[in-house]
């Protein structure tokens, strides 16, 4: 006879819980559903009254229609988000390593100072930032925008790596010291090889925020370097643009962040420290 472990609540309580959860799920997914079905409908099928209906036939006409308008922005955003997230993660890894494993006098003062950057809102620094970037001759192109995203990302990537490296045993770092490695070689040979999970988190975060940024892109770049968010705004914001094109653009614009999450997400859970310690 089996003796399963089961909850003591009455069956109807369990059922009610699941019904409630399912209702919330549907509510949450409704916009996604609208986005998908509208983007995939034939342009002739699209109307407000038939918004919730499934498409009669699959059509990519909306995508081909908007792609020329999005193309430049898409390329610009890739050129922006990839270097911004990589640089920001690398610098954050260095910061995090030094702040947790190679501590220096005053580290406890510097770290909160860096974190402070996380809590200052975009809008508060917008005007002085534009002023500084203009004076430095960095306004207009992508390089200035990359720089801003790298710097703005540093607090969070530093925090991510500092927490991650804090989880590494001090003894491994000390073993490297006794083995003759200095700070740089300890970082490159011992700390970096175990850091991919932290890189995954930092890059997903940074890529997403650089890709989704509208404000910095709008104030710091010329028309030629507009990121996709501005292109999307121009398509979706217009009164005359049909729904299907707006939806198709939105879908295209969010694909890269989904892809980054899918590609990097598998590094999240990997136990890269396995076997280092007593086990």
């Amino acid at each position: 006879m089996s003796t399963a472990i089961r909850s003591r609540s009455a069956p109807w309580v369990t059922t009610a819980k699941y019904v409630a959860l399912f209702a919330l799920l549907v509510f949450f997914l409704l916009p996604v559903y609208a986005l998908l079905v509208t983007a995939l409908k034939d342009p002739s099928e699209v109307s407000v009254t038939r918004m919730w209906e499934l498409p009669g036939s699959l059509s990519f006409a909306s995508f081909t229609a908007v792609w020329p308008k999005l193309q430049d922005g898409f390329v610009n955003s890739v050129m922006l988000a990839v270097p911004a997230s990589v640089l920001s993660a690398v610098l954050g890894a260095m910061n995090g390593f030094v702040l947790s494993k190679w501590r220096f006098p005053g580290a406890d003062f510097v770290f909160p100072l860096i974190l402070f950057g996380m809590f200052s809102p975009y809008q508060a620094i917008l005007i002085p930032m534009v002023q500084v970037m203009s004076d430095a001759g960095l306004r207009g192109g992508l390089d200035g925008l990359i720089l801003v995203h790298v710097i703005y990302g540093l607090p969070i990537t530093t925090l991510i790596f500092r927490s991650y490296f804090a989880g590494i045993s001090d003894e491994i770092i000390e073993a490297a010291k006794v083995d003759g490695a200095g700070m740089l070689r300890t970082f490159f040979f011992v700390a970096l090889p175990v850091a991919p999970p932290a890189f995954a988190v930092a890059m997903i975060w940074q890529f997403t925020s650089a890709w989704n940024d509208f404000l910095f892109g709008a104030v710091l770049t010329n028309r030629d370097y507009w990121p996709i968010t501005i292109a999307l705004n121009n398509i979706a914001g217009g009164q005359t643009v049909p729904f299907n094109e707006a939806m198709a653009s939105a879908l295209l614009a969010c694909l890269p962040t989904v892809a980054v999450y899918v590609i990097l997400g598998r590094f999240f859970m990997r136990g890269l420290m396995a076997g280092a310690l007593k086990g």
Binding site: S169, I172, A175, K177, D179, A181, F189, M273, K278
Partner: protein, 434 residues
């Protein structure tokens, strides 16, 4: 086997080494210690005694707050760990998780600029000695605990350092493996002959491994001596209580006329016993007379059956006054019929049967000795920390008897005390009086 380590070992000298952590905790308070080239030196003490800090200072992982550290003839006090020619084995093994065994072993050589051919040769050589040859391409995650331990050891050996530093390297192994690894470690040291400083809190490990053992307490060196001397001639109450298993028994006693009186018995002191240090006790006895009053006020209800003094008549009368008496569990034995010796009749509370020997635990009709030193020796911070049933006010003794000794719980038992193996301590200072 091949000569794996070719560099001559060098000694270590610590001169007044001190460590004060930020916040004012004094971890090490002026330690002088000389480790001869090739010696196996064990630092032992209860947790928080500063032994690990001292080792880490030798490695360069902690800065010193004072004093000098000499490696051979070289003052390394201000050198970085990577500049000192030492290798360290950590408690957690601290293997590099993303490197294979081969790379783990070769890392130190690589960091010190050895060529790849040289590196490979050394790694293969050491792997062979430690039986790791078939594991060279595995990652640490794919190794067992004992194998990881050997890789950690190999990583130290491969560099041919002047000094090995080991921080409780066996404490993560389970009990049986630990005992066999202990013996292996001794053999390895004999083969390699490298100066080794080994930290442990386990006094059995210390006694079995160390050529000399340095006992530390509260950051101060108590005694540094051979295991034999530590056991038989502890310099103070702490060392006496810390070394030996089961621990030494303590009871408050009084010395007068060449006899030591405790729990209603009087044991004659050997003539030679009290000569040298009698004066120090005479000086101290005045100051501690209040302690003496309670300590020596022993009744004679249970343990006094045959308390009459027997034995040597020649007595040195210079030790007098209250003392703390220490008796090793092995200094108590079942009397042979009609044999000499002072008899003590006790009632066993508990008999622990270990197969070929028995630990007999009984109470004496005397006050329990509870000093800072005896507490520290068992890592207890308050008087009742080490007691499960903290109502025992009386001294509890352990005797180690052969398995065939006729012992039963609750049945009176005669024991003799070996008068030559009494340890007397000054109750005020805890220093040994003989």
């Amino acid at each position: 086997m091949t000569d794996v380590i070719r560099t001559p070992p060098s000694g270590i000298r610590l001169e007044g080494v001190r460590k004060r952590f930020p916040g004012g905790v004094d971890a090490v308070r002026g330690v002088d210690l000389d480790v001869s080239p090739g010696e196996f030196m064990v630092l032992v003490g209860p947790s928080g005694c500063g032994k690990s800090t001292l080792l880490r200072m030798i490695a360069g992982l902690e800065e010193t707050s004072g004093g000098r550290i000499m490696l051979g003839d070289k003052d390394v006090t201000t050198e970085l760990p990577q500049q000192r020619d030492v290798a360290m084995v950590f408690q957690s093994y601290a293997l590099y998780p993303r490197m294979t065994v081969r790379k783990n072993l070769g890392f130190g050589l690589r960091m010190r600029g050895a060529g790849s051919a040289e590196r490979e040769r050394r790694v293969v050589e050491v792997a062979e000695v430690l039986g790791l040859s078939h594991l060279l391409d595995r990652r640490p995650a794919a190794l067992s605990g004992g194998q990881r331990q050997r890789v950690a050891m190999g990583r130290a050996i491969v560099r041919e350092p002047k000094v090995f530093l080991m921080d409780e390297p066996l404490s993560n192994l389970d009990a049986k493996l630990r005992v066999s690894m202990r013996a292996q470690l001794s053999l390895l040291h004999k083969r390699l002959g490298v100066t080794t400083v080994y930290v442990t809190h386990d006094q059995i490990e210390a006694m079995t491994l160390g050529q000399r053992v340095a006992v530390l307490r509260d950051g101060s060196l108590q005694q540094c001596d051979t295991p034999q001397n530590l056991f038989h001639r502890p310099v103070n109450l702490f060392v006496a209580a810390f070394i030996g298993s089961p621990s030494m028994n303590f009871v408050r006693a009084t010395v007068s006329d060449g006899f030591v009186h405790f729990a209603g018995v009087s044991v004659p002191l050997p003539a030679s016993a009290s000569g040298s240090s009698g004066s120090s006790l005479a000086g101290a006895s005045g100051a501690v007379s209040s302690v003496a009053a309670s300590g020596s006020a022993v009744g004679s209800a249970s343990g006094a059956a045959s308390g009459s003094a027997v034995g040597s008549a020649s007595v040195a009368a210079s030790v007098a006054g209250p003392v703390i008496l220490g008796i090793r569990p092995t200094a108590l034995s079942v009397p042979s019929a009609g044999g000499p010796g002072v008899r003590l009749t006790v009632v066993p509370d508990l008999v622990e049967d270990l197969g070929d020997e028995r630990y007999v635990i009984f109470e004496l009709d005397a006050e329990r000795v509870d000093t800072d030193a005896t507490r520290a020796a068992v890592d207890a911070t308050t008087a009742d920390d080490a007691l499960l049933v903290p109502d025992a006010e009386r001294a509890r003794f352990t005797a180690r008897l052969p398995a065939d000794a006729p012992v039963a719980v609750g049945e009176p038992l005669d024991l003799t005390v070996d008068p030559d193996r009494l340890h007397l301590f000054d109750p005020a200072t805890g220093n040994a009086l003989r």
